[in-house]
Amino acid sequence: MPRKINVLLVDDSRTVLAQLERILGELDDLAIVGMARDGAAAIRLAGETRPDLVMMDIVMPGLDGLSALRTIKSQFPEIEVAMISSVSGDSTKAAESFRLGACQVLGKPFDQEIIESLVEGVRLSLGATTCDARDH
């Protein structure tokens, strides 16, 4: 049985959180373990829920996504982080995201296939096609 992928969603827009919840809700063996609307809450929830994947907006009020990415990757390097950018053609912010350890930069409008392949990539990187040994 595939191991469940735990995902934390971070965006200041409730619309985007609803969109992602809808897209991810169609995928098997995936649980949304938390939602945050700014970078500070994202860091706190990442520590509390230890997700496999964080999907996080770059531009947010308060602590922004790039600052939160830096902290999450330094404290929890095992967590994969995909950044979300409205200005995805802006190679500067996308490049900065990759430099800080993001595994992907998702543009908007969202492409369901790209999100599905992102989740599958995380599943594969966890060796998650079989039961996690810790479950036994």
Binding site: S86, F98, R99, Q104, K108, P109
Partner: protein
């Protein structure tokens, strides 16, 4: 599905992964001269000027060249020359990936063609803009992409009317949300609509049912649509070498000057205002 840069496209296509992009970016950083280095070599700035701008840049998120002009250390026409030199000398990410062995040389051309085909939907025609708006290059992209994104995000067919001077708020203005596009000139993109249009947009953008919508969510849905529209327009114009930053939505936009277009839509009434004040 969005404006993107080549590295991102290659990841989406499964050709490479993020670690390859990271390596390519490092190689590019090592190989490409910085703006400051080029400005010095071209005799436009001194090492001391560059240090001053770098120190200021640590406090503010503004591009080096724009900041140097703002600080009076570089002339606007010199900025253009340095940017042109930087672009002509810059190692592209595709070449860096080939050099690192992550993309085969004989495959790069095919991938670039596929990338161009993917991004062709974001190319815009040279539509006629009135004086006063023509200098806001990003406005061209906003107006061209508007009906395409209304269709893609919300499934709404829309026709954009003629551009005219903004005079006053239309009588159907139940909702007005804006996003700023900050560049050499500021442009505020404002969507003004009645409740029916805003709700249709919010429902389509969020996927929620009408009974789950609240007034905050309706405004948020319109703001998110403007984010996508403004973000892709900014991305497209940034790729041409003009740096544009997208700001967060403002749900209480005040309008006083600019240009407007009516939107012929199937649901409710809406107009887009491009505020230049």
């Amino acid at each position: 599905m969005s404006v993107k840069f080549f590295g991102q496209f290659l990841i989406d296509q499964g050709e490479i992964d993020a670690s390859h992009v990271r390596e390519a970016l490092e190689l590019m950083q090592d190989s490409n001269p910085t703006f400051g280095e080029l400005a010095i070599s071209m005799g436009f700035m001194t090492q001391r000027d560059v240090s001053e701008v770098s120190a200021e840049q640590r406090q503010r998120d503004v591009g080096f060249g724009d900041l140097a002009v703002e600080m009076g250390l570089l002339e606007p026409e010199e900025l253009v020359e340095v940017v042109q030199r930087q672009r002509s000398q810059r190692m592209p990410i595709g070449q860096a990936l080939v050099r690192l062995g992550h993309v085969r040389h004989d495959r790069l051309g095919l991938l670039l063609d596929a990338f161009k085909a993917d991004q062709a939907q974001y190319e815009v025609e040279e539509i006629a803009l009135p004086d006063g708006l023509a200098s806001h290059r990003v406005s061209r992209f906003v107006l061209e992409l508007l009906p395409r994104f209304l269709k893609r995000v919300a499934g709404l067919d829309a026709r954009v009317g003629d551009i005219r001077r903004f005079a006053s708020l239309p009588d159907f203005a139940d909702i007005q949300v804006s996003v700023p596009l900050e560049g050499p000139r500021r442009l505020e993109v404002v969507l003004v609509s009645d409740l029916a249009f805003a709700e249709a947009l919010a429902i389509a953008a969020s996927g929620l049912s009408p009974r789950d919508l609240d007034p905050e969510m309706v405004a948020d849905g319109v703001g998110e649509f403007l984010n996508v529209l403004g973000g892709n327009a900014a991305g497209a114009v940034t790729r041409e070498g003009h740096r544009i930053e997208l700001g967060p939505p403002d749900y209480d936009a005040q309008l006083c000057d600019g240009w407007t277009v009516d939107l012929a839509v199937g649901v409710g009434r809406a107009a887009l205002v491009l505020s230049t004040s």
